[in-house]
Point group: C2
Chain length 339, copies 2
Amino acid sequence: MGNVTLKNIAEILGISITTVSKALKDYPDVNKETRDSVRLLAEKLDYKPNPLAINLRNKESKTLGVIIPRVDHNFYSTVVNGIITEAEDRGYLVIILFSGDSSSLEEDQVKLLLEKRVDGVLMSMATETEEIGHIKELIKKKIPLVLFDKTTEEISCSKVRIDDKKASFKAVEYLIETGCKNIVHFRGPLPPQAYTDRFLGYKEALEKHNITYDPSNVYVCDELTFNEGYEFTKKALEEHPETDAIFAMTDLVALGSLAYCQANGIRVPDQISIMGFSNWFMSQNSTPKLSTVHQPIKELGKEAISILIEEIQQRKNEFPVKHFTAQLPTEVIARGTTR
Amino acid sequence: MGNVTLKNIAEILGISITTVSKALKDYPDVNKETRDSVRLLAEKLDYKPNPLAINLRNKESKTLGVIIPRVDHNFYSTVVNGIITEAEDRGYLVIILFSGDSSSLEEDQVKLLLEKRVDGVLMSMATETEEIGHIKELIKKKIPLVLFDKTTEEISCSKVRIDDKKASFKAVEYLIETGCKNIVHFRGPLPPQAYTDRFLGYKEALEKHNITYDPSNVYVCDELTFNEGYEFTKKALEEHPETDAIFAMTDLVALGSLAYCQANGIRVPDQISIMGFSNWFMSQNSTPKLSTVHQPIKELGKEAISILIEEIQQRKNEFPVKHFTAQLPTEVIARGTTR
DNA sequence: TAGTGTAACGAAAACGTTTGCGGTTAATAT
DNA sequence: ATATTAACCGCAAACGTTTTCGTTACACTA
């Protein structure tokens, strides 16, 4: 029904399927006239090679699987933007699957991808994932795998991450250099690693500038919401009245901080500097505008896909593949909430 | 390499491929013992049917194509969430492609999907799209198509939309019923239709309550940014000092309005009520919290996919398909910025 | 005359699966 | 003894490509 095949063309022209195929792919052993007539007819009939057949023959699907915790979140939707665009540019299609940050769902999705025979897998691990058997399974089956964002040392594959520690270090250093001495840090939960790295950067900056690190200056946010930022600011300011800066691990929380300060007549940045993280677009819509750390999220997606495709090509050509971890650079953006 | 096939199992067991296939699919004409031994071995070897081969034989890919303007935007990432989850539940995989709101890119993406032989296409049209030849092409080639969100009457297919007009009507009626008489409306650009529908709902509510519609009370935002909300509020209040309510076509713009009022000592909602649209999560993080209209975005995605898959099944069974337009209901959420 | 070269084409296998149909055996019925 | 039936199995075609390896026909060389 409907779709034109090589066979159709061959029958109409009274030649073999082989010749039609060759004519279309510029094989040298086909007469110029034959070739032209084939091409003409193919054009006229709007012939499109059936990828299902090609894939079966070539044992590849030109499709990549991507597993992320969710997509309705600024970070992931931006990264997906980079992933899909880059993949398409390189001739691959992408299938997105969600783990919902659940370990068992993540496992199911890996299995699904395995069954669907994607050419490679890109994934950001679910926060709660500790059993990594299903990921090792991928390695064992020789499916090219690249981990990004939320990664683990326990898996031997290429990884792409934001250099959270350095980013955080630079942000805190900026606060110190602009005169802050009592810097409170709102960190995220223990896994994922990224939040710990940001905390480590905070600590390191303090140490470098001879400010003694006080654990009670660090508050752990669980939900990473605006409200948490608001409430923890209140708490922090009560417990540490001497505070002159707040470094929050994400913009939304920082915005909550800012809201608390404004609601309570605390001048920002004169009394308290506030530094966010992510450069979410809303950070430009506060008054004053939020200072933050820009992370190249879309580029993260692009880079991850590039590395994955690279590895697929290498394996196909039986080149040796070497794994590595790429750390993408960040940038402090000083706006109105810092001095 | 690597992957187990029916042939492998057949050879090991010394039986034919046919029998192996049948054993695995519970055909009645295979001996219980044979069946068991096949299943056992298949299990042991971790046999997974090759979808590429199955697809080729069945002439279907169990894959759906989705074209949206972008994904790094709350509305679309939420809708994509619904789309992917629902599709997966029903045994389909999804390929997402972006049109970037460009007509020519949209055309390219349609072509790509056509070449890839997806079983159906779901799409939200690019704003600038006026040439719809490529969409008609889909219809002509009998590819099941469902339009959602940004649709057009010129294409005969099923559509799924938010009932923007009614939503807007209810929102404005709420403002009127809580005592507002001079309601300014910030609308969006002309295409897409949704913004016009929201405007129409605004007008209709006015008329129903015998408030004369004044075109100068309607301002057209082009960018739909926070800043536009801020600036247009300033302008509107200068031009219409009697204004007692602002109805913005989206939450971000409404948040900009709120910011202007607060920066200029205008009491919300006492002096001016503000109503947003979308129930974006940030609408809960302002003080006072933003009143808005909730739209079931994720459900929109689910509904669209359901209809598409339904249509695919119908065609496969050669049932007649009938097209229709589903309008999803909305809900006014009164919070702190309205009386 | 036999051998060599070359241009143009096609047969066939392969990728892995599904399924209509026919075949074989053994048991049962007439 | 013959016919009928049921139970079990496998051949082969089909899905649409790609590519290896022939084959054919013809011209040219020695």
